[in-house]
């Protein structure tokens, strides 16, 4: 298996589902009714003899939607699992009073071997 970062995988999933997304913050104005912000998380190597065996990387998909977000959330979750990523958990953050968006967070993780991750000359 060759290297593909979790951010790239998540972006590919959102593209497949035709959901607008940006990384870190959403800058496009006006924002569409449903969009996502991908937040990179931690990279945790699991070591044996000081050599990483597996590396677990995490990311959070922050889903914003003005309407019912449940169907979109389920589609994203299904794609995550179908694409071999791990669904770590979901959380409703809040209904933002100032923007009217429902904010829903989906935590994702991906485990890759060190052989996949390390820089190949």
């Amino acid at each position: 298996m060759s290297f593909s970062s979790i951010m790239k995988d998540v972006a590919a999933i959102l593209t497949t589902l035709s959901i607008d997304y940006e990384t870190g913050v959403y800058t496009a104005q006006p924002a569409p009714a449903t969009f996502c912000v991908i937040i990179p998380g931690t990279e945790t190597p699991e070591c044996a003899d000081d050599i990483p065996d597996n590396v677990v990387s995490t990311a959070t998909i922050e889903l914003y939607s003005t309407g019912n977000y449940l169907d979109v959330a389920r589609k994203i979750m299904t794609q995550i699992v179908d694409n071999g990523l791990t669904l770590e958990g979901c959380e409703f953050v809040e209904k933002e009073p100032d923007t009217g968006y429902n904010h829903y967070a989906i935590d994702v993780s991906k485990t890759q071997t060190w052989e996949d991750i390390k820089w190949q000359q």
Binding site: E22, G24, V25, Y26, T27, A31, F35, V37, I39, G41, T42, T44, T58, T60, E62, Y64, E91, V93, E94, E96, D98, T99, Y101, H103, A105, D107
Partner: protein, 141 residues
């Protein structure tokens, strides 16, 4: 028919009885020890992530642990969280949540303060709880 009778030593029975009577007390202390290990690292992490303009210290100082209480179902429980509401009427838990996940229609960037330390918190709490539990059980003997 052959018959075998096994008697549990009186000492063991006495100890088990005592353990049974004091279990609530032991679990209370165990939970409290676990929660205690979480508070400081969470405050530190929060302190590092709060943006400069909001650094009035209210969010950080509102973080603490509850005493161990019994739920209506009889489960003992302890919570680490925020003392609410704030002086300005806002909710600390909400602010911390927005800090963790970002907000304002995606325009406020997320500054995760809890997720990066969650594993470490779990590990610390488990160790502290194991140590406290063993200590308490040993004391009942």
């Amino acid at each position: 028919m052959a018959r075998a009778e096994i008697e549990i030593p009186d000492d063991l029975i006495r100890q088990l009885n005592k353990l049974d009577r004091t279990m609530d007390d032991i679990v209370t202390k165990t939970l409290d020890a676990g929660a205690e290990t979480c508070v400081e690292p969470m405050r530190d992490s929060l302190r590092n992530r709060v943006s400069a303009e909001h650094k009035d210290g209210e969010l950080v100082s509102a973080l603490g642990k509850t005493t161990v209480r019994k739920s209506s179902r009889g489960n003992l429980n302890v919570k680490v969280g925020f003392n609410d509401p704030r002086r300005d009427g806002n909710i600390n838990a909400k602010i911390a949540n927005v800090l963790e996940h970002g907000g304002r229609g995606g325009r406020q960037p997320a500054r995760p303060w809890l997720k990066p330390i969650r594993k470490q918190l779990e590990e610390n709490a488990r160790r502290a709880m194991e140590a406290e539990f063993s200590k308490e059980v040993r004391q009942t003997q």
